[in-house]
Symmetry: C2
Subunit: 120 residues, 2 copies
DNA sequence: CCGTATCCAATTAGATACTG
DNA sequence: CAGTATCTAATTGGATACGG
């Protein structure tokens, strides 16, 4: 019983996890628990407020993370994984692991192509 | 020993697998073995020749798939997974599985929000 | 502090035509 | 058959300013 590729659902999973910043956000929340907006922003140098907000909204809409607003001045908003979102953890960890190996693999590829050049 | 998020390598893995069509291409090659260009194109209605070529080149550059050119007229080019590429299989299958569940989860989310509306 | 709105630059993707 | 080239449309992302 092989998987029907025509009804490919890999993309469903991918859309959750992709975007330049989503995996980083998710790993932060998975490993460090609840974080507030400004903490997340600080831990991701280079991200703009607009992008962080957008990525967080998308993750919230998909029920991966939850947002808790404290009605106070100045405002305080905390983000954390939902139980459902935590079901993504194994995939994220596998990808992290594979990604680390892939960095090494790319180095080997570059190295052997340099060798080839020397042979010519 | 927790994972250092600052050196996040999930993105390394993601870059391989993302792009509107890459997961579909990879699942085709994983499940059906060697395929030629025109077969892949036929099995992905909606993809343009330009996009298919581009995605295939990127996967080839990363050593995930290999291209074999038969020097004949008309031309014949066959694509298949590399041994290295096949190490992605578990991740792709996990994502496929999670994706299927997520489709159901989204349906439940829509259903319960419809219930909410009726309660008002 | 935590956003939204707007404008603009850059990247990405489709349609189409052409080639060995 | 398996591409490349070109032009254009659409999407994405950054910078900046402003608001509750």
């Amino acid at each position: 019983m092989s998987v029907e590729v025509s009804q490919c659902k890999v993309e469903e999973a991918l859309e959750i996890v992709v975007g330049k910043w989503k995996p980083v956000i998710l790993l932060h929340l998975l490993h460090e628990g609840t974080k507030r907006f400004s903490e997340l922003k600080r831990s991701m140098p280079g991200i703009t407020q607009k992008m962080l907000t957008k990525q967080l909204r998308e993750l919230e809409d998909e029920d991966i993370i939850q947002r808790v607003i404290y009605p106070q001045v100045p405002p305080k908003v905390e983000y954390s994984m939902t139980d459902y979102g935590r079901t993504l953890a194994p995939i994220l960890e596998s990808m992290h692991e594979w990604g680390e190996k892939h960095v090494l693999h790319k180095q080997k590829m570059v190295f052997s192509s340099e060798q080839d050049e020397n042979v010519q």
